[in-house]
């Protein structure tokens, strides 16, 4: 072992974000996830009373899929940074229930799944063989093997 790094992921890869949302039960189609073309933020977001919000997004989880009396959750693409940011209402993000979409724990779980898909995709592109190793501590462990 000769080099150690800690990297805080930026969500730049749309494909990995969509896959991660699918892992959490929000896939396109039956999972209710709505995805705009390219990087356009042209999906309107609605509040729990059906009121249209000022924010728009590239990816949207409709409020009725989030929970009862919830607001839409969106992911907007920031052209300046080239990354996605989550748009989650204060009400939904303040929910301490572990499984509810939008809660801090849900956001962490989503980041973990995005990291998993982003690293796996980039590693395969670089020619690595990706092997997932089981853990019991809540982390995800990947072994990236290069034979060249």
């Amino acid at each position: 072992m000769s080099k150690y790094k800690l990297i805080k992921l930026e969500i730049k890869d749309k494909d990995s974000l969509i896959k991660a949302l699918g892992d959490l039960g929000f896939s396109e189609g039956n999972g209710g996830l709505e995805v705009a073309n390219g990087h356009e933020n042209n999906l309107s977001l609605y509040g729990y009373q059906g009121d249209r919000r000022a924010e728009t997004a590239n990816i949207r989880i409709p409020r009725h899929r989030v929970a009862t009396a919830a607001n839409d959750i969106g992911f907007a693409f920031d052209k300046e940074t080239g990354s996605y940011r989550a748009i989650i209402s204060e009400f939904d993000s303040g929910d301490r229930k572990e499984k509810r979409a939008g809660s801090p724990k849900w956001q962490n779980r989503l980041k973990q799944r995005v990291s998993y898909h982003t690293v796996s995709k980039a590693a395969k592109r670089k020619g690595y063989r990706v092997k997932e190793v089981a853990t019991k501590d809540g982390t995800v462990r990947l072994q990236l093997q290069s034979f060249r």
Binding site: M1, Y4, L6, I7, Q112, A122, T139, L142, S146
Partner: protein, 62 residues
């Protein structure tokens, strides 16, 4: 160059990586592609970093 990059993704999505099987400065180059995935918050060299990349070991003999 044969090597393994061990990646641990923490429960809040941070990526910890260590390069195994390679000594010396080259190990940093091997994992440089990971840096582009986000912001590098820690970048440490371990003891093995300072070892020579190739070591001649003579087994047995007189």
């Amino acid at each position: 160059m044969k090597h393994i990059i061990d990646v641990v993704i923490t429960d809040d999505g941070q990526i910890e990586s260590t390069v195994k099987g390679v000594a010396g400065p080259k190990c940093g180059q091997l994992s440089a592609w990971l840096d582009k995935l986000g912001n590098v918050e820690v970048d440490e060299k371990t003891k093995d970093y300072y070892k020579k990349a190739k070591q001649k070991i003579r087994a047995g003999g007189r």
